[in-house]
């Protein structure tokens, strides 16, 4: 129950944040790819700058998590094709749908059935990747 509540409340806060910062708005994503607003760049940029400081602090002070275990951040495997090609495919969808996975869930709150179609599409995409994974260059 405690585990459920901690993750639920982090999600709840994130959901409110995705709406109030407008990163879940299709218009903001379009505007970002037109380089016509600082909002999205400011959000991602400041999160990353602070994130770099946080991750360094965790590593150098050997921070433990709340359970007392060491925090281990496993880096991604080396590679190029999967990150670049996968990234391009993701970007095409991000711009077309105007939403990445987090905002898709947030937008269910609009009550629009179209959001369900987006999520079903994302689940299908995940499934198809899993099915043809071994045939793709990584």
């Amino acid at each position: 129950m405690k585990q459920f509540l901690s993750f639920f409340f982090i999600g709840l806060f994130l959901g409110i944040l995705f709406i109030k910062s407008e990163v879940a708005s299709w218009f903001r994503i379009y505007e970002m790819f037109q380089f016509k607003s600082f909002q999205m760049y400011g959000i991602i940029g400041s999160a990353v700058v602070l994130g770099i400081i946080i991750v360094h602090y965790i590593k150098y002070s050997k921070q433990k998590d709340f359970n007392g275990d060491a925090i281990i951040i496993t880096p991604k495997n080396k590679g190029f094709i999967r990150y670049f090609v996968g990234g391009i495919i993701f970007g095409l969808g991000w711009a077309l749908a105007g939403a990445c996975p987090g905002p898709m869930y947030v937008l269910l709150g609009t009550g629009l059935p179209s959001i369900l179609v987006l999520i079903i599409g994302a689940l299908l995409g995940t499934f198809v990747y899993g099915a043809i994974k071994n045939k793709l260059p990584h």
Partner: protein, 184 residues
């Protein structure tokens, strides 16, 4: 109360996202919003057909709890905290009108794409399904999404994440500058 009702500026929103990443690390997890899609596929029994989904999804239940929270938070914010539509750059409003999208500055999402009316057309339905599909496929192929690569990955100064984020932008720019005029 204006602080809550108005758009949260980037210098508030960005640091709050970093704070969420920190809390998830302190809880022994990492910040990423797309791996839950794999968990859901696995939960729905996809492991019977595809090995990629054959894993103990119960160990990943926490990311479903986050999703439940995100859905609830989105509902609360959309219904009670967000009376305003995003006010975007005027040049962009004009560009969108040229594409036939006239709902900028008056709604949170373009009704031309997300309304029930549009969903009922083959074109409207395909745009949404394909958009979602590319997001889901691309996120797993590249191993992360905006939160996993752009926030968590770049914070950890990972080269793979930088490559993925560059890919996100290449894809996004191609879609908006070259494909949008063909689609809309």
């Amino acid at each position: 109360m204006d602080l809550i009702y108005n758009t949260w500026p980037w210098y508030v929103s960005g640091p709050l996202i970093a704070l969420i990443m920190f809390l998830l690390l302190k809880l022994g997890k990492k910040f990423g919003m797309s791996s839950n899609l794999r968990t859901m596929c696995s939960m729905a029994g996809a492991g019977k057909y595809v090995d990629f989904f054959k894993f103990d999804w119960k160990a990943n239940k926490w990311n479903l709890y986050v999703v439940l929270g995100v859905i609830t938070g989105g509902y609360i914010a959309l219904q009670f905290l967000s009376p305003n539509a995003p006010q975007i750059n005027q040049d962009v409003v004009v560009q969108l009108q040229e594409l036939g999208i006239n709902s900028a500055n008056t709604s949170f999402l373009p009704s031309e794409i997300f309304s029930l009316e549009s969903l009922m057309t083959i074109k409207g339905f395909s745009i949404l399904l394909l958009g979602g599909f590319l997001v889901g496929f691309g996120a797993r192929y590249s191993g992360g999404c905006t939160s996993g690569h752009a926030i968590s990955g770049l914070s950890n100064l990972q080269i793979p994440s930088l490559i993925a984020v560059i890919g996100f932008f290449v894809g996004g720019l191609v879609m908006i500058h070259f494909l949008f005029p063909l689609i809309f």
